[in-house]
């Protein structure tokens, strides 16, 4: 991958990843407002907004972060399975995206029920939002610090490349 394309993909990756963190933070605030449950209108509005943020922001941003992350890994010398921090980032991003997509129908169902006359008894959504945000922050730290550590596959590949370079 050329430097211009790499920078473009990296820019989109950063925007999608950090946008995902921001959208998850907004979702958490709404989940907390619904959990507090003091005002029925607030609970109703929070669940409807959580469904909207979920499908319109969280899902596209998560898929964008995942796709651009894959392109960056495969298109650069980092590789996909060579460094532990890349493997962990990929695994955690996949888990977050999967849990998000699996959880949103529940959010939709509760949002539909919250449109009814008594929305106050539905509680909030702190567990998924809080857990997801923590995992996303962990992935961000991994991507910034890039802790050292080659997988056995990465180690083998590096030895092969070194041997090829010595010839």
């Amino acid at each position: 991958m050329g430097p211009a394309v790499r920078k473009l993909v990296l820019t989109v990756h950063l925007l999608a990843s950090l946008g995902w963190v921001g959208a998850a933070a907004a979702y958490l605030v709404l989940g907390a407002a619904a959990a507090a449950g003091r005002d029925p209108e607030t609970v109703r509005a929070a669940w409807i907004a959580m469904e909207l943020i979920g499908w319109s922001a969280l899902v596209p941003l998560s898929i964008g972060a995942l796709a651009t992350g894959l392109v960056l890994s495969l298109g650069t010398a980092w590789g996909l399975f060579r460094h532990y921090w890349v493997v962990l980032s990929l695994a955690l991003t996949l888990v977050c995206t999967g849990v998000l997509i699996a959880h949103l129908p529940t959010v939709g169902a509760v949002a539909a029920a919250a449109r009814g006359p008594d929305p106050a008894g539905h509680g909030g959504d702190l567990f998924h939002a809080g857990g997801g945000l923590l995992v996303l922050l962990g992935v961000t730290v991994l991507n910034v610090y890039k802790p050292r550590g080659l997988t056995p596959y990465g180690w083998r590949k590096q030895l092969e490349e070194r041997a090829r370079g010595a010839r």
């Binding site: 960056l72 980092w78 460094h83 539909a112 029920a113 509680g123 890039k146």
Partner: protein
């Protein structure tokens, strides 16, 4: 994304240096968290879906007649 630094083993040899400590620690933390989540779900009676949020026990008004 900067290029990865070359990583050498002991004396630059061909012996795999093993899994880094931070990976092992992260694995242990992830395992503990997964067990904690499983325990919380078990205590909550395994309820994990719209029914958890709906006082009537799962009747969801998603379809209108």
């Amino acid at each position: 994304m900067a290029h990865p630094p070359a990583q050498h083993g002991p004396e630059g040899g061909a012996v795999y240096p093993g899994t880094p400590r931070w990976v092992k620690l992260s694995g242990i933390v992830a395992l503990v968290l997964a067990l904690l989540v499983a325990a919380v779900m078990a205590v909550a009676g395994g309820e994990h879906g719209p029914g958890r949020h709906l006082p009537s026990g799962g009747a969801v008004a998603t379809q209108r007649p």
